[in-house]
């Protein structure tokens, strides 16, 4: 196409009037000249004009063909189609609404999932030219592979040729800070990353306000945008102010951009960015720049003309130059850096799992589309005659098919737009819920930064889905209609019915939908019952006043035990704290179960290693006997406390107190070569799963040693209000513990996770069940509507010979309700099977009871579910059945 031609074509819409006017003039002249010629040959004036016109042919058709030359005819057609479709839809607003909402529902579910897929799996680093950024890691390491010693940074920065802009950062460190304008004792704990001075420059990150620090800054700090907004009310005047971090006074020089959450691993935004130079002043004990321990993440850009393979080769060559703390060379590797990334392959698993999940959701959409196709088929059946007439009058088949498809495309477009809008709100709500939950459950240890945004990828995905639905749903019946043989349809009228095979498939699909929504509804009903119970459950101990303090110690052995004891003493002195214990296992955070075979069969015993004050901290009633003494704990005495249920199980007759367990008995504690004797019996509690009692349990004395465990504190007031005092007290024992202490209340942390175990499946089941119910209803509606339109004539005959409206409704409903009935039957069987499956879980001790003791088979739930289904089906039947009952026999018969 020459530029001139392109210009002519593009400018056509603006010159169209003139072009058509000229063409009309030209053709008129042609006709006149032809007529004149014919008159010369002796024809009369009127004969000549007629003959000329006859020879010339259909003028508007020629004008159409001439217009085609400009390549704009599709637009005319489309506008025409849209006008036509809008007219059609105004006539049947109910249909339009149902179709739109069905599409909106399907698209909203899919687009929401895609927003998260986009924000997690597809999220690049929030830096300039992110595709070019790599992360240097330790090769072949399963754990903390992303952390390297500082020398790696220095060596690569100095000597590597295939990479440039090498930058480094620590993981977020918790530091005590005093914000500008706050009293000096108003300490709050913040998360900070220490980064190399050229971090922002190398990654191409600007500052929202002020500037980033450079190599000369040794007392500067840059605030995260989110932290600045949350903690300082987004006050731009804080730039230039000073704040205390640890023992150092630093100057705020800038604010990071809103969407810059850092470089991932972990995928959270720190509160502050600090230059390396401030490390010594703010964390005096951390000599990370000179010791050889791995504390540093390394990122770099691939040099121009270099490839990732070349980078890998060069890094391998550097390995020898980089000995680790025990002198072994560190093998290095490079991979593309993304925001959500892990060092041991979980991210790759997530990618695959979420990909599969997206496909599953697309299947839901496909079901929605099939139901819609039924609806459209029902309408198009009614218009089959109209279509046929238009075909007979010479309309092009492609044109008719396009017109029919444009209706569904328009609806899909509207529905898809609604879906995208809804998905954004849903995604924001979910993100807020997710981040709040994660932060509160882990006591601020783990958060997640989710950049929820309806960007072009989400929009394109939703548009593609909508278009696919629109075309698929519209074209299938449209093609069928357009393929119709003109003569057959005209002769037969609209009594023609679809092939039996097609009906069979549709019925099968409908039955499956009814069955699956029934199963989902049952699951949702049972889980919701459990949810109700989960809110008011009593774990059997004083969970409302418990604080958990995890201290990730860098010491080992006896020194660690001494320090833990010091911490426990210090904590016990706090006015907010009533008592302090140490336990190898935090209630509701994991289990320690031992499955053993006894003479009574197989039992599972829950084991706990605890310090002396454990029972006091937990507020657990000691029914008989006593708790451990301090001496017993320190000397690892061979004594134990058992739960009521264990006492009953092992010593059914008589008191358990004073009984001893032989050496190597299944119940024997940590040291199986010793004989343990029972000194007390405690109540059965829930501390493995909130949803069920622990059952047989044994408690053994444990001093402040061991690799696992946490401080459990019983507070006087609300546990959350003691958090800061506890943190300050622990930091008082050793400042380095600041960044290694993680405090959470039992309710907000582990117990909230337990409740989530009830809430999340219940919510998911409910959403899916409701979506399934809506889709099944649309399916029923579409099928009945289709029958009614296709059999209008038959219904008319029935009415004419005296059938009552109810009989007509029964006639129509009978056919449709058959798949509904067997679907419901199959669904009920599935629901009962689900109940039995859930019941079978209760007999497995190491999984939670998702129904929270609501029991497996609940006839009330099943009855309610069936009633819901019935209501939905009846509601779906009402409109088309009403239409059937009001078929006017005379009209129905005459219309044929």
């Amino acid at each position: 196409m020459t530029p001139r031609e392109l210009w002519l074509r593009l400018s056509y819409p603006f010159r169209r009037r003139r072009v058509e006017h000229e063409l009309r003039d030209e053709m008129a002249l042609h006709l006149e000249l032809r007529a004149a010629e014919l008159r010369q040959r002796g024809l009369t004036a009127s004969d000549a004009a007629t003959a000329a016109r006859r020879r010339f042919g259909n003028r508007s058709r020629i004008a159409d063909a001439s217009r085609d030359a400009w390549g704009w005819h599709w637009l005319d057609g489309t506008l025409q189609d849209l006008r036509y479709v809008a007219r059609q839809l105004r006539r049947t607003p109910g249909f339009a609404l149902v179709a739109c909402l069905t599409i909106a529902l399907g698209v909203a579910i899919n687009a929401t999932a895609f927003i998260f897929y986009d924000a997690i799996v597809l999220k690049p680093l929030p830096v300039r030219d992110a595709a070019n950024v790599i992360r240097v890691t330790q090769d072949r390491r399963a754990f903390a592979a992303e952390l390297l010693p500082f020398t790696a940074y220095e060596v690569l920065r100095r000597d590597a040729h295939t990479i440039q802009s090498v930058v480094t950062t620590t993981q977020p460190q918790t530091l005590a800070a005093v914000l500008p304008g706050h009293a000096t004792d108003d300490i709050r704990f913040v998360n900070a990353r220490f980064v190399s001075p050229d971090f922002a420059l190398g990654l191409g990150v600007p500052a929202a306000f002020g500037r980033w620090f450079d190599a000369t800054d040794d007392g500067a700090v840059v605030l995260d945008h989110g932290f600045w907004t949350r903690a300082l009310g987004a006050d731009p005047h804080v730039v230039g102010k000073r704040m205390r971090i640890g023992d150092a006074e630093l100057t705020i020089v800038g604010i990071a951009p809103p969407k810059f959450a850092g470089t991932g691993l972990p995928a959270v935004a720190p509160d502050l960015w600090l230059p390396l130079a401030t490390l010594a002043a703010t964390m005096p004990n951390a000599d990370w720049r000179h010791d050889s321990r791995p504390h540093w993440e390394l990122l770099a850009r691939v040099a121009p003309n270099a490839t990732l393979t070349q980078v890998g080769a060069e890094l391998t060559a550097f390995s020898r130059a980089l000995p680790d703390s025990v002198g072994k060379p560190i093998p290095l590797a490079a991979k593309h850096a993304t925001f959500f990334q892990t060092d041991s392959g979980e991210f790759e698993v997530l990618q695959q799992v979420s990909g599969a999940f997206m496909v599953a959701l697309a299947l839901i959409l496909a079901i929605a589309a099939v139901n819609l196709a039924n609806l459209f088929a029902a309408r198009n059946a009614a218009r089959e005659r109209e279509v046929t007439v238009r075909l007979a009058l010479g309309a092009r088949r492609s044109r008719v098919a396009r017109q029919l498809a444009s209706e569904s495309v328009l609806l899909a477009f509207i529905g898809g737009s609604l879906g995208v809008l809804a998905s954004h709100s849903i995604a924001v709500w979910l993100r807020d819920w997710l981040t709040t939950t994660m932060t509160s459950v882990t006591g601020g240890l783990a958060g997640i930064f989710l950049d929820i945004d309806v960007d072009w990828r989400v929009t394109a995905y939703a548009a593609l889905l909508s278009l696919a639905i629109g075309l698929g749903v519209g074209l299938w019946p449209a093609l069928r209609a357009a393929r119709g043989d003109v003569n057959t349809v005209l002769r037969q009228g609209s009594t023609a019915t679809g092939g039996a095979g097609l009906w069979g498939k549709r019925n099968l699909l409908l039955g499956i939908q009814v069955a699956s929504s029934l199963v989902l509804l049952t699951a949702a009903g049972m889980l919701l019952g459990g949810l109700r119970l989960a809110q008011e459950i009593d774990p059997g101990f004083d969970a409302d006043h418990m604080l958990v303090a995890y201290v990730d110690d860098d010491l080992i052995g006896a020194a660690r035990a001494v320090r833990r004891e010091a911490i426990a003493r210090r904590l016990a002195e706090l006015p907010e704290v009533r008592s302090v214990a140490w336990s190898a296992r935090v209630p509701f955070a994991g289990t320690h179960l031992r499955r053993v075979t006894t003479h009574n069969g197989s039992v599972t015993i829950s084991l706990d290693d605890v310090s002396a004050s454990y029972f006091d901290v937990m507020g657990m009633a000691i029914l008989r006997g006593r708790a451990f003494t301090r001496q017993e704990v320190e000397s690892n005495a061979p004594v134990m406390l058992v739960s009521e249920s264990l006492a009953r199980e092992r010593w059914p007759n008589g008191d358990a107190i004073g009984r001893s367990l032989p050496v190597n008995d299944v119940l024997t504690g940590p040291d199986t070569t010793k004989s343990y004797s029972v000194i007390g019996v405690v109540r059965d509690i829930r501390s493995n799963f909130l949803s069920r009692l622990n059952g047989a349990s044994a408690y053994y004395p444990r001093a402040f040693d061991g690799n696992f465990g946490a401080f459990l504190l019983r507070t006087r007031g609300t546990p959350a209000s003691a958090t800061n005092a506890v943190r300050v007290a622990i930091a008082g024992v050793s400042p380095l513990l600041n960044g290694r202490t993680h405090i959470v209340t039992l309710q907000a942390g582990p117990m909230a996770v337990q409740r989530l175990m009830a809430e999340a499946p219940a919510a998911l089941a409910l959403v899916l069940a409701l979506a399934g119910l809506v889709l099944a209803s649309v399916g029923v509606y579409g099928l009945i509507a289709q029958i009614v339109t296709r059999r209008t004539r038959e219904i008319g005959v029935h009415m004419a010979i005296g059938a009552r409206p109810m009989q007509v409704v029964a006639l129509v409903a009978r056919k449709t309700l058959r798949p509904v009935a067997w679907g419901a039957a199959a669904g009920a069987v599935g629901a009962v099977a689900l109940c039995f499956f859930l019941r079978s879980l209760i007999s497995v001790p190491d999984v939670p009871d998702l129904t929270f003791g609501a029991g497996a088979f609940n006839p009330l739930v099943l009855g309610g579910v069936l009633a819901t289904l019935l209501i939905a089906v009846v509601a779906a039947c009402v409109i088309p059945a009403h239409r059937a009952a009001h078929v006017d026999p005379t009209v129905a018969l005459r219309s044929e």
Binding site: E5, M27, L29, I62, A65
Partner: protein, 117 residues
């Protein structure tokens, strides 16, 4: 009507209409032609064998206008009627040469088949 039916007429062979129109316009180089004259000229030059259908003439003219092979200009006929007169552009001349060359190749090939050596 009898005079019109005197000779046996043939439709224009598919694919040759553009060439015939371009050739007709170029032959009448001294004088530009309007639509009716083009149709007439083709019929006359072909000794009344080929008859151009108006149904394809005007779309073809539009197409060639868009392609830039011909240019149209409005002026008066001898009878003082407004008409669009067409002339060949440089691109049109090249196109005509191409089409004639291609047509002759095809015609020779067909001749080979019909009269084997």
């Amino acid at each position: 009507m009898s005079t019109l039916a005197a000779v046996e007429r043939e439709p224009i062979p598919p694919g040759t209409l553009d060439m015939l129109i371009l050739k007709t316009i170029s032959t009448a180089a001294a004088r530009e032609l309007h639509g009716f004259e083009i149709a007439d000229a083709i019929q006359r030059s072909s000794r009344d064998v080929l008859q151009v259908e108006e149904g394809s003439l005007y779309p073809a003219l539009q197409r060639m206008l868009v392609k830039g092979w011909i240019a149209g200009e409005w002026s008066k006929t001898p009878e003082n009627r407004r008409a669009r007169y067409y002339r060949l552009t440089a691109a049109g001349k090249r196109q005509l040469e191409r089409e004639i060359a291609s047509y002759q190749r095809v015609a020779r090939a067909i001749a080979f088949i019909l009269q084997p050596a």
